[in-house]
């Protein structure tokens, strides 16, 4: 308990720095003074409703069951592929290899970890490689047109990022006078999507990852209405993942193939990060604009950039307290021309 309070303290200081850096101050009184007087409670504590969490055993059992199902499905597909391309073909071997390697994990959150991500708006060149890598990594069905990461192109002048003049469908980048803002799930500390879900099919894990239980979602889409960041996506049609491109490294709350009529969203590559890795988008970014890590670890890269450059969040007025931060790093990529509005 005291440990988590210490963690909270750190996070608050960090957020204060972030808020300050963005030049927004919500309350005149010092927040830590206020917090020492007021003890935060959550409504569910007051009303005696425990947050719905799978126990580790039930989740592990579910993962096993799911793995069997996926193997059944993909061996059927492998046969089809081998019949079509021939037994000896590369495609057949590839599909078989991927299908055999399928492993559905149920790795639980590690104690005391608080994940966060930050993105250097000065570095991002809007190439959308993160969005592409994300689709491949997370077995997002190609036929439903879902992308967990959207990259907005917005005019650079003006104080705030103006969504209404931002474009998603730009075709060439980077442009001198534009800024690129990738948006995905913000893994909010105070997520309205979790509040909205009538059946607790979506919740926030102890390490801060907001997940969806695809076996439980009833497809009412209230969470999509409640999310201020357009981060949740619906499988409007039957998803058809391709075995030839299947990522066999899966997590039951992450990139297992989805079903029709359920919601899905970014999970910060839960199948990688829970095992100590970094998300695919962070890995693939050609300019290194993305930083990921544990907020509670003073040595983590995320702590370093946030402490050094400060951070801001999108739509702070929505009150969701995102764990995804944006910052302005030291140099622009590509370098701004002489006199061209350096920020």
């Amino acid at each position: 308990m005291s440990g988590s309070r210490r963690v909270d303290e750190k996070r608050r200081n960090l957020l204060k720095a972030g808020v300050f850096a963005a030049g927004i101050s919500f309350i005149g009184v010092s927040r830590s003074t206020l917090m020492s007087m007021l003890k935060p409670v959550s409504l569910s504590e007051v009303l005696g409703v425990p947050p719905r969490r799978e126990t580790e055993e039930t989740l592990a059992r579910k993962a096993e069951w799911k793995e069997e199902r996926i193997k059944e499905w993909c061996s059927r597909k492998v046969e089809e592929i081998c019949r079509e391309y021939g037994e000896g073909s590369e495609e057949c071997a590839e599909a078989r290899r991927r299908c055999e390697a399928v492993k559905v994990k149920a790795t639980p959150a590690r104690q005391g970890v608080a994940f966060a991500m930050a993105l250097d708006v000065n570095k991002c060149i809007g190439c959308r490689r993160c969005a592409y890598a994300c689709v491949m990594e997370n077995n997002v069905a190609r036929n439903n047109g879902i992308e967990w990461i959207k990259v907005l192109e917005a005019p650079r002048e003006g104080e705030a990022i103006d969504f209404l003049h931002a474009k998603l469908d730009y075709t060439d980048a980077p442009k001198e006078d534009m800024v690129y803002v990738p948006v995905a799930c913000m893994h909010c500390e105070n997520p309205p999507c979790v509040m909205a879900c009538p059946v607790r099919a979506t919740w926030r894990e102890p390490d801060g990852i907001v997940v969806v239980d695809y076996e439980r979602c009833i497809g009412c889409r209230y969470c999509m209405t409640a999310c201020p960041y357009g981060a949740r996506h619906f499988n409007w049609g039957v998803p058809e993942p391709s075995v030839l491109e299947l990522n066999p490294n899966m997590h039951i709350l992450g990139n297992v193939p989805r079903q029709v009529h359920v919601v899905e969203k970014c999970t910060w590559c839960i199948h990688r990060t829970r095992d100590g890795g970094i998300p695919a988008c962070v890995e693939v970014c050609p300019v290194g604009a993305r930083v990921f890590g544990d907020l509670n670890d003073p040595e983590s890269p995320i702590r370093r950039v946030l402490e050094e450059y400060g951070a801001f969040v999108l739509k702070p007025e929505a009150g969701t307290r995102p764990r995804f931060f944006y910052f302005f790093g030291p140099a622009r990529t590509p370098a701004a021309k002489e006199g061209g509005g350096e920020k």
């Binding site: 003049h165 497809g219 999509m224 949740r232």
Partner: protein, 414 residues
């Protein structure tokens, strides 16, 4: 009422509800065909992946998208919740203010509420991606105090049960020419009135506290919902009463019921129009919320979805027209005039309460992108089918009710 009496009453309702002349059977048959076709399209086309394990179909056949996740179904859901809620107005007139004219027909308010609530529930089910899971999980209320949808489920099913009880009790008594006992009515009204307001309030609360949707994010949303509900609901019942007077021989409605109800609907319309006016002022005059303004521009000026602003202006135009007509004594004192005013009111509120209250929140969407929405034939057919089921139930329940009323009031009152 004993169990035996309830069973007898149900039998009576079924027997009387299914008896009638050629025109009546024609009506039932027409509605049935529409209903069956709608259900077929829902089960066999829109939800084929769920029910038939088909690889084709799915909600992708609707006009909805990640930008506009709620469309036609939820829009009409909002409207019918309002109609259901307003049934209570007749119960109040009858049992609280003890108006004999209202007492006579109050049970029809319950019929209307039952039919409207069934439409409401069916529209939600049609919209739900995984209806079977929902039927298992929703009654358990897993996220009850926090999720507004859980609240909505509770009050809507609760209100449905209350109205069914009221209906069966009233019909059961009247058909044996007995009057209603105060021992039943007092608790009935005390429970039903707050829940009636509650269903519409909770429906508005689903949307009004979402910071993600600036257009809804106003404390005026719930009052606005309730205000126009008291225009559309009673107006629809007036139309039904007029129709019943014409088609059921010997059934008369006290003229004072029409007069008083038109007062209520006109008052509600004025309040509703005033709320709209006030919202538009907030948004257009000097708002600092660009999102809200952009969403309002879609609504008012028809950017991106012209038919949407058409509906909005329909609300203003027909709403104002209905108010003006109701103010002219020579119009509101004829049955034809009342029918016309009521019709205008219902259409005006459909303009206000359906798509124009749901869609602007999604256009532009939460990332500022404009992805217009137009309902597809699949959605329209399913929606019509569900409405046909609703009207079928309305007819089958209203007929025995009118018959029971006539038994009880036998010529005693006009």
């Amino acid at each position: 009422m004993s169990v035996g009496e309830v069973v007898e009453t149900v039998k009576y309702v079924v027997r009387e509800g299914l008896r009638g002349g050629r025109a009546y059977y024609g009506l039932l048959l027409g509605l049935l065909v529409m209903a069956v076709y709608g259900v077929y399209v829902w089960v066999g086309v829109q939800h084929a992946p769920i029910f038939l394990r088909s690889e084709q179909g799915g909600l992708v056949l609707t006009g909805m998208s990640d930008s506009v996740p709620w469309g036609l179904y939820i829009s009409f859901f909002v409207f019918w919740v309002g109609v259901a809620a307003a049934g209570i107005m007749f119960a109040l007139g009858a049992y609280v203010f003890n108006h004999p004219g209202f007492r006579k027909i109050a049970v029809l308010g319950e019929v209307q509420a039952v039919a409207a609530l069934i439409v409401v529930l069916l529209l939600i089910i049609a919209d739900m991606g995984r209806p079977l899971r929902a039927m298992v999980l929703m009654p358990l209320l897993p996220n009850f105090p926090r999720s507004m949808l859980g609240w909505d489920f509770v009050v809507i099913t609760g209100y449905l049960v209350i109205n069914l009880v009221g209906y069966l009790y009233t019909v059961g008594r009247y058909r044996e020419d007995r009057s209603l006992s105060a021992r039943f009515l007092v608790p009935f009204v005390i429970v039903a009135a707050p829940i009636a307001i509650g269903i519409h309030t909770v429906t508005a609360f689903i949307s009004q506290a979402l910071t993600a949707r600036p257009y809804w994010n106003t404390a005026l949303l719930a009052p606005r919902y309730v205000a126009t509900a008291f225009a559309s609901g009673p107006a629809l019942l007036l139309l039904v009463l007029l129709l019943a007077e014409r088609s059921v021989k010997g059934f008369r409605v006290d003229w004072d019921v029409y007069r008083k109800t038109i007062f209520v609907t006109t008052g509600a319309l004025i309040v509703g129009l005033y709320f709209t006016f006030s919202e538009v002022q907030e948004l257009l005059w000097y708002t600092t919320e660009p999102f809200k303004k952009a969403q309002l521009e879609v609504l008012l000026l028809g950017r991106a979805a012209a038919w949407l602003s058409l509906l909005f202006w329909l609300w203003i135009a027909l709403g104002v027209a209905a108010v003006i007509l109701a103010l002219i004594p020579s119009v509101r004192s004829t049955r034809g005039g009342v029918a016309f005013i009521a019709l205008l009111t219902v259409i005006a509120v459909i303009g206000e309460k359906t798509l124009t209250i749901v869609l602007p929140s999604y256009i532009p969407d939460s990332l500022g992108q404009i992805r217009p929405y137009t309902p597809t034939p699949v959605e329209i057919v399913v929606t019509i089918g569900i409405h046909a089921i609703g009207f079928l139930i309305y007819a089958i329940l209203a007929k025995p009710a009118i018959r029971a009323i006539m038994t009880h009031y036998k010529g005693a009152s006009h």
